[in-house]
Symmetry: C2
Subunit: 137 residues, 2 copies
DNA sequence: CTTGACCTTATAGCTGGGTACAGGGTCTAT
DNA sequence: ATAGACCCTGTACCCAGCTATAAGGTCAAG
């Protein structure tokens, strides 16, 4: 049984307007309509919306999220192109992971220093993310 | 020898206005001024700006970046509070890393399927990031 | 057969994070 | 001593990503 826009919005805890906005932006396919014009969503729309929200929190723009969602191997899609794009995204994500790990290593040192009550002034986090500066995003 | 705003902006490749904007926002301390009112930046400002840029790309809001930068153990700062906050940030960052890894694992499967010319329709990335939905961000 | 909670489109407005412009002062080189 | 490249403040504008409002249609409950 299909869901109304209000139901999916509630399930994912986003605004109804936001769902329609994503449709306009192309992140969500235009769903079936009832005779009276109401949108009817399949249940997996909820997963899609959740994915979008998570990806946003990871620093992806809506445009990028759209690209991620469009990646797939379908019957007649150029396989090579998809593979290339996919590998590009993997690189990008790997870089993000790398940066986050550096941040976390530094935060770990800081927490340790705290626990040991060793006052280490000078913002400690600044060390994280030095180097590899060119080619930023 | 201190740097002018134009010099730091050039070094980090951001707009001069952006540097001033960060000062207004409190991400950058108001620097010394020359008698004529010119800002004089110490060299480590460059590192700080680079950190800000990277952190932005990882989905941190300026507000959060500010908090990260303010974390430090200083002489009389409540050590416990800093440690607690730091551990909170670590959790948050770890969650981001976890999510990114899920995305990348999925992208890896996709690339493999591409290479093997195995058409797997149905957007494969939707599987990544399922579960653990409550308490988002 | 009406009330109230839904849905529709269209358009306007808000927040975050900048970016540009106006109007003016400064500094260095020639 | 003046041109040109910088700096200053203040204000206005821009884009992404929503979010709210207006004006109206739908539908289930009573």
């Amino acid at each position: 049984m299909p869901l109304t826009i209000g139901q999916v919005a509630l399930a994912v805890d986003v605004n109804v307007q936001t769902v329609r906005y994503y449709e306009r932006r192309g992140l969500l396919a235009a769903p079936q309509r009832t005779v009276s014009g109401y949108r009817q969503y399949p249940e997996d729309t909820i997963g899609r919306l959740r994915f979008i929200r998570h990806a946003k929190g990871l620093g992806f723009a809506l445009r990028e999220i759209q690209e991620l969602l469009e990646l797939r191997v379908s019957r007649r899609t150029a396989c090579d192109a998809v593979e290339r794009k996919t590998r590009e995204k993997i690189e990008l994500v790997e870089q993000k992971i790398y940066d986050l790990r550096r941040i976390n290593r530094t935060l770990g040192h800081l927490a340790a220093a705290c626990a040991a009550r060793r006052p280490t002034d000078d913002c400690p986090i600044l060390g994280a993310l030095e180097e590899h500066d060119e080619s930023d995003n």
